[in-house]
Amino acid sequence: MVGRDGIAALVILVASGVLFALTFGLHANPLVPIGPAFYPRIVLGVTAALAVLLLVVDVVAQRRHPAARPEPAAEPLNYRLVLVAFVVFGLYVAALPHLGFRIATLAFVVAFQAVLDPPRTARHWIVVLAIAAATTVVTYFVFERYLSVLLPRGPWTDF
């Protein structure tokens, strides 16, 4: 039986193990005593050892207090909203190189506001759209025109 720490330890152990195995494909220069795998193997080895230690500590703790659960949060946490927020942001990142900064950002700011605080009145929708438009226009002009920081342009829209 493993708890939260045990799960994290297992994930880290597996990742370290996979990466450690990949270091055997690194070729050292015969003229140089230390190759590219030297330091990564130390780091990955120490990480794996610490992960094993965390796993052991967690298993021992679970055996001592098998019914122990994390205390429930004082207020219920909205993980569904977090997931949706990540998905919306992920879609924004995916859309950026295709739609371009201005269109993707406008859509993203509208969508993110709507997800976090769904508008219920026409006035609220107007405020949401105004914030999205202002964000897009101001950031575009400040960064691309004034600071010469180029922003993505989309081949689908060339905008």
Binding site: I12, A15, I34, L44, L50, L81, F89, L116, F143, V149
Partner: protein, 508 residues
């Protein structure tokens, strides 16, 4: 030193530096006043605006953010009883009660003037010690640098978070990020996982932005949907009138309190990853212990505000020392400043002051000038802050995320950095949920390449590994690492015995 500082001051008062410094300080004050928006978040948002500026303009703006943010938190701490930043938590203990007793102006201005005096004392330490510390560090060989970075990592891992093991693992995860993609010694691809854009390595700035921005924002999103009260606000009609002479006398007539709180702030600032939140709490605690009237603390006395606010601003000076003398960030804010230096092609570390004296003393001058600007901004805008802090998070968060994307994209005009931002945003949130502290992770990402370079250099110079222990400075630093880990173990055990499974949050 004084000639260089005078030259720096003359340089920074030019409009082209004064404007970014003013705007940065203003952004810091506003960001610091907004509960839920940390100084780290504010500087991350300001970062992309600095790409088109010259290095001193950008760093002046960021220094302004740091100074302004460290003081801005006192506004909501006093007027609403909610600290704008973690570095103003202790200010609420006496600031809000004093305001509710009918003296909001006195509470605010005690905090503002204490921030000024504490910050200037921190500046004396910053300017006086950075040069000698950097000169001392120039005697370091690769053994000493390796040991110094290991000490920084072990201190951070031990002092932040509720578990030493998770702290150490977090640091190691940061080091793993740096072994992906690129061998810093030979410049050859390594462990690219079949991803072509990873061949240049993982850029640390999008990692930093992703981890901190998403950890903060998504932790707030989790709690959205509930009725979020702003606490009991002080009556907006209450007078902010105050006798400045009386307030300044309140502070200067307690020189030991001011000095000791500032020293605590500076020492905490020098220690990696521990920041203003620890500084203000520790200074408050110390002020209460040394006070002749400890029972009055919490009822609205000036000592509580003076201790907290002078410490959190002096902390800024301490943090800047470690980054300017050693190239090791004292906290997330200076980590972002390190990123800004890197973007402009400037290597921080012991050679920074000698190779870039104009920039270094320009930063010192900006730090000093940011304090009177902070006083001016806070003095004029305090009443308006109450309107600003009611900005809905649903509107604020997407704007912050857009600026994070711009900050990541602009690094190389490539979407790869934005993908890194998203990936590490997910990782950062997962780390928070599994109670892995972020500070050691970020320090590992920042220091990883340097740790490897110095380790390999040391071994290629002389293959005897005992030199890490037998060389006096290196040996002392490694011994301190061991001591810090043992001390952390003892501290965690003692905390668990007292509080059970209670958790301590990371400073960021």
């Amino acid at each position: 030193m004084f000639e260089l500082l005078a030259a720096g001051l003359v340089n920074v008062v030019q409009i082209k530096y004064l404007v970014p410094l003013f705007l940065g300080t203003l952004a810091g004050v506003v960001g610091g006043a907004l509960p839920g928006v940390t100084i780290t978040m504010t500087i991350i948002v300001v970062l992309p605006f600095t790409f088109g500026l010259d290095p001193l303009q950008g760093l002046a703006a960021m220094t302004g953010v740091y100074v302004g943010g460290s003081a801005g938190g006192l506004v909501t701490a006093v007027l609403l009883g909610i600290p704008g930043t973690p570095s103003a938590i202790a200010t609420t203990f006496d600031g809000h009660p004093m305001a509710r007793k009918g003296e909001p102006g006195r509470a605010i201005w005690t905090g503002i003037w204490a921030s000024l005096f504490g910050g200037l004392l921190g500046g004396v330490f910053l300017i006086g010690t950075t040069g000698p510390l950097a000169a001392f560090a120039l005697r370091f060989g690769p053994w000493e640098f390796f040991s110094l970075f290991v000490l920084a990592l072990s201190m951070v891992a031990g002092l932040v978070g509720s578990s030493l093991l998770r702290g150490l693992l977090s640091g190691m995860l940061g080091l793993i990020v740096t072994v992906l993609g690129n061998d810093p010694i030979f410049g050859t691809p390594r462990l690219t996982l079949g991803i072509s854009w990873l061949e240049g390595g993982v850029p640390f700035l999008p990692v930093l932005i992703g981890v901190f921005a998403f950890a903060q924002i998504m932790s707030d999103v989790e709690r959205m949907g509930g009725a979020a009260g702003l606490g009991e606000a002080v009556d907006r009609g209450a007078s902010m009138a105050v006798s400045h002479a009386r307030v300044v006398w309140d502070i200067l007539s307690r020189p030991f309190l001011l000095l000791w709180s500032s020293v605590i702030g500076v020492i905490i600032g020098v220690l990696p990853a521990i920041g203003g939140s620890a500084a203000n709490m520790m200074a408050y605690d110390q002020a209460k212990k040394f006070s002749r009237r400890p029972e009055k603390f919490g009822s609205g006395i000036p000592e509580g505000i003076i201790a907290s606010e002078s410490a959190n601003n002096a902390n800024v000076g301490g943090s800047l020392v470690t980054i300017m003398a050693f190239g090791i960030p004292g906290d997330a804010v200076t980590a972002v400043m390190l990123g800004a230096l890197t973007i402009h092609g400037i290597q921080s570390g012991p050679l920074f002051i000698s190779q870039h004296p104009q920039l270094a003393y320009g930063i010192f001058a900006a730090y000093l000038l940011a304090h009177p600007l902070m006083v001016l901004i806070l003095g004029v805008s305090t009443r308006w802050m109450l309107r600003i802090v009611t900005v809905p998070k649903a509107a604020l968060f997407p704007v912050v995320l857009v600026l994070c994307v711009i900050g990541a994209y602009a690094l190389g005009n490539a979407m790869a950095s934005v993908y890194v931002l998203l990936a590490f945003g997910v990782l950062g949130y997962a780390m928070v949920k599994y109670d892995f502290p972020l500070a050691p992770f970020i320090l590992g990402v920042i220091l990883g390449d340097q740790i490897e370079i110095n380790l390999v250099r040391a071994i290629m110079t002389d293959s005897d590994p005992w030199l890490f222990v037998t060389r006096p400075i290196s040996g002392a630093l490694l011994a301190l690492s061991v001591v810090s880990i043992v001390a952390a173990l003892w501290q965690h055990r003692r905390h668990r015995r007292r509080h059970g499974a209670a958790e301590e949050g990371a400073d960021f």
